[in-house]
Amino acid sequence: MHMADALLSPAVGGTLWAVSGGLIAFCARKVKQTMQDHLVPLMGVMGAFVFAGQMINFSIPGTGSSGHLCGGLMLAILLGPWAAFLVIASILTIQSLFFADGGVLALGCNIFNMGFLPVFVAYPLYKLITKGRHGSPLAWAASIVSAVIGLVLGAFGVVLETTASGISELPFGSFVLVMLPIHLAIGLVEGLATATVVSFVFRARPEILQAEPEAGIRIRPILVGLAVAALVIGGAFSWFASTHPDGLEWSVVRVSGSEEVAGSNAEIHQHLAGFQRKVAFLPDYGFKAGEAEEEACDAWPSVSAGATVSGLVGGSLTLGLVVLTGLALRLRPVRQAK
């Protein structure tokens, strides 16, 4: 579920960073406005609770496996959507920084998939169905239904973002077919876990759950927000999908600041390739590889014969240099210490 950086293009990652960053800023403002100062420590501790709660597993009825709480829907029920979104975003940030669980570039995507969707789509649904009757059979159903919807939407987000990035070759359709059933199951487990914990809390301390609705949300602004987000993201995705099959050129342009750099880059390659043909050792391999190259990657025609061989040699040498540098840097302070 956590996306890694390695499969994401900067364009998609950047777009989702912007969306999630905006949401964080927005929710931070909301939390500050409705302040409720006690939320400051409560949010922090609840984030730690979700982490710690994952140490406790339950066996999933009817199967041999076990599951635990992911916590998105639960946080929304306990803290209200604004605070819950910030807590989830902070959990994902810590996971990405300390466990490499989801990349840094992918953080925007992960916050959107696992924060925005459960909190601003699944939770309003939960509220709509239960109308405050926590612990009732209706609430169990609501919790399962909304958790499933939240997770499936999240999985769909993963697929969309990966496909739009164009680094993985996995076709959209089969990716969906793999991801959706898995997340349907995870959603069921999440819904069960959420319902059982919420109903426990409701029995033990009903006032905790009753205190929230005042700070709650109206459905309409959420729907509007969702529509806007969908438009932005859909627009961005379809633009990448149509103009740039792999969304790469655009990002190169963005990073290097102009289209010319990509062009000059290619020129250098061509130029060097020509130079390479004159001076190359192993000319056979170079030529042979070059032909295949030209056919295979029309998306990046600048990769050429010479580039491959010299890339191989230079690449391994560079790798060697990296290792040596690492060792040298490591030795240095020790020598100082002596």
Partner: protein
Amino acid sequence: MRLADWTEIGRMDELGRMDSPVHRLDPRAKVLVSLVFIVLVMSFPRYEISALVPFLFYPVGLIALARIPMRHIMKKMLIAAPFALLIGLVNPLFDRQPMCSVGPLELSGGWVSFISILFRFVLTVSAALALVAGTGMYRLGAGLERLGLPRVFAMQLLFLYRYLFVISDEAARIMRGVRLRSVGSGALGLRVYGSLVGQLLLRSMDRADRIYQAMVARGFDGEIRLLQQSVPGWCDAVFAGCSLILLGAARVWNLSDLLGIWLAGGVS
């Protein structure tokens, strides 16, 4: 999250509190360079490998200078790898066009892009881990706040991190109690699970309440103020400037290729 992960987070925390030239750099400079690094790495076309190699200098240099055990970073990378690995492995299945050959071996485009994905994974993950292990959560959080992260969120990160250790101790105590009284696996029935996690939840909320009392007792008014941080010095500017120039150069020119060509030229 398993128990072993907690010792891991503790280990990262220890690394983050060491003292080294890297730890002494302004966190903002490190965050900036690391972000640029990740975006640059991911901006390469999907079949690129050789041009990515010089990028290794950055994480390796950072890790070595910060005196972080390389083994530790590698172990963490292995644990995090499966998802990228799994999705990446699909590439050779779908993209079978031959692309280049190394000696008698012919590589399809799918394999090349798979290797490229692995390389990107190693680069981005090691850079992020090096940033955290070479900065520490506190300095990182304070630095992010000064880079414009909303204060509410920066404090949320720091509070969450602060109480991770406390709450996880409580969860571990609960689990120990359960294990002492039950036989078999650690997985529980749904009803027991609900009451255990519910207990943990209520205890956590009570703790939050006491923390709030303690904050109020010392004049908390909704705003959290941090001590003044050091101002960035010329060291930080040099680090950021040089890294950005080198990274930019490695993005524009394929340095591995240039090295190879230069060598080839020299040989013949």
